[in-house]
């Protein structure tokens, strides 16, 4: 049987409280990180879905619309141009006018859906103008700009929350570690008077608090992962529509956030232990 027990007692109530604090802070920081990344991902998904898409409303007859589509198809950078059928136009209007069907007599705008490079809009407008076709071109720039601005704001707020939580976490971990160590001052003093060097004593405490920080941080990150997975599940169950969100998934970046949380917590606890022990030792001869 090995008799080289740890020079520090096993966990007690104080360390239990510290474990809870570190775990909770890591959960909040990791979850905020995931929300922040999801906000940026959502912004990217929303805007990439509409970038390169143009909607062209033709002021004229169906024949004008078909002619316009033909002209658009010849413009450089255009991948496809498709005149929307009445059924397709009704589908677009359904969220506003309901699914009961529209009167046949109701005139619907003649729309052409165009897939093209982002800078093709001006060339299309020029070609149609030269052909004498009166159109209104909507490249969704205003909408995507608003969407980008909104998600950027959400992302910034979430990122600020992550940074604030991270800084608060480090401070609280340091404070809690300090408080825990104050109760162990007798051990610090005995080791010191027995001839242990400062590095040795600091190392004893660093190892303990590194493990505590990593374990508590890992649990917090795991809970954050669980919460994020639950939210994703809920979004997928609702097909993403009710939440007005594109389909999201956990990515490598999320894994990085979840992996970093316990490492940062462990490093903060270890650093706090080092500083506290060395400060206590500096008061000794």
């Amino acid at each position: 049987m090995s008799r080289t027990a740890s020079l520090l007692p096993r966990e007690d109530a104080r360390e239990g409280a510290l474990f809870f604090v570190v775990c909770a802070l890591c959960f909040l920081a990791a979850f905020s990180g995931l929300v922040s990344r999801a906000a940026y991902a959502a912004a990217g998904a929303w805007t990439s879905e509409v970038s390169g898409e143009l909607t062209i409303r033709v002021r004229g007859s169906d024949a004008d619309a078909q002619r316009a589509a033909g002209i658009i198809g010849t413009v450089s950078g255009v991948a496809s141009a498709h005149v929307l059928t009445r059924a397709e136009s009704e589908e677009l209007l359904r969220p506003w006018l309901g699914a009961t069907g529209l009167p046949e007599s109701l005139q619907l705008p003649r729309l052409i859906a165009v897939n093209a490079t982002i800078d093709a809009g001006e060339a299309i407008a020029a070609s149609l103008k030269a052909s004498g076709i009166n159109v209104i071109i909507d490249d969704h720039a205003a909408w995507s700009s608003d969407a980008r601005r909104a998600t950027d704001t959400i992302g910034l707020i979430a990122l600020s929350a992550v940074l604030l939580l991270g800084a608060t976490g480090v401070a609280v971990i340091a404070f809690a570690t300090h408080a825990t160590l104050l109760a162990r001052r007798d051990i610090v003093e005995l080791l010191h008077l027995s001839g242990a060097k400062d590095d040795f004593i600091a190392g004893v405490f660093e190892r303990r608090f590194l493990m505590l920080g990593v374990q508590a941080g890992a649990l917090g990150a795991l809970l954050a992962f669980g919460a994020a997975a639950f939210i994703l599940f809920a979004i997928r169950q609702s097909d993403g529509q009710a939440w007005l969100l594109p389909q999201l998934s956990l990515s490598l970046a999320d894994g990085l956030i979840l992996g970093l949380a316990p490492l940062v917590a462990g490093a903060a606890a270890m650093l706090a232990a080092n500083v506290t022990v060395r400060r206590a030792l500096s008061g000794m001869v």
Binding site: S2, R3, T4, A5, L7, L8, P9, R10, D186, I187, E189, L190, L191, H192, L193, S194, G195, A196, K197, D198, F200, M284, V285
Partner: protein, 252 residues
């Protein structure tokens, strides 16, 4: 007997490069006060030669424990100079002080055992700090605990030990590294006369065989008289040497 604990005879000078002329502990006009009206030591000078055994006596509150704290480098004097193993402690770096402390065994008055460690682990603590592997000291530690009468309490935690047993563990921890200087603060205060005598023989064995310099603060004047050692008395902040009459019928 102490020989059973395997204390080897060794050349102290070769181990630690101490000049034979240099006192192991020297206090030069040392004073210590915690404020203008709280002077504990006024003007203390003393020198302990290598291999000597010295008792420090004096009334309660005279400052014996404070003087010992200066000796085991737990306090700095507010006046004067403390030299240990020929080195002025005020000029040493922290790591050098740590190296000096590893050569000093201390029996604290309040024991200072770690409650979460067994008696065996408490005694082995100085050896772990020295970086020795457990296999190299396991038998020595067990033998030493056996010598102080705790051979069957190796795994006992301090909370389950009596005051006397804790004291013996504390003593075993102080001597396990065969220190060059052993400082003990009331080391027999909680044990009966027989055990006090037995523990004193342990100190004497270390002193004679290993040439450990021993400084013991005690109120036990009977022990002091039997010991035939140097006696210093601390009173009113100063130290004086005491000449005790030779004990009759003793043959130590």
């Amino acid at each position: 007997m102490a020989t059973a604990m395997g204390i080897p005879q060794r050349n102290l000078m070769a181990d630690h490069d101490i000049s034979t002329d240099e006192p192991v502990l020297r206090l030069d006009r040392v004073g210590l006060s915690y404020g203008p009206d709280s002077e504990v030591l006024a003007d203390v000078s003393l020198a302990l030669q290598p291999g000597s055994m010295t008792f420090l006596t004096g009334p309660s509150g005279a400052g014996k424990s404070t003087l010992l704290r200066l000796a085991y480098l737990s306090l700095r004097p507010t006046a004067g100079r403390v030299s240990v193993f020929g080195q002025d402690t005020s000029r040493l770096r922290r790591n050098d002080l740590a190296a000096l402390r590893r050569r000093i065994g201390v029996v604290f008055q309040e024991f200072r055992l770690l409650d979460h460690l067994s008696a065996y682990e408490n005694v082995a603590l100085p050896l772990r700090i020295m970086g020795r592997p457990e296999g190299s000291y396991r038998k020595d530690v067990a033998d030493l605990l056996d010598w102080v009468g705790l051979g069957d309490r190796l795994e006992a935690r301090p909370a389950t030990l009596s005051g006397g047993e804790k004291q013996r563990v504390a003593i075993a921890r102080a001597v396990v590294g065969k220190p060059d200087l052993l400082i003990a603060d009331e080391p027999t205060g909680n044990v009966d006369e027989d055990m006090a005598e037995r523990l004193f023989r342990l100190f004497r064995e270390l002193n004679r065989r290993v040439r450990t310099t021993v400084l013991i603060a005690t109120h036990d004047m009977a022990l002091v008289r039997r010991a035939r050692a140097d006696v210093l008395r601390l009173a009113q902040g100063m130290v004086v040497k005491v000449n005790l009459p030779e004990p009759r019928g003793e043959n130590t």
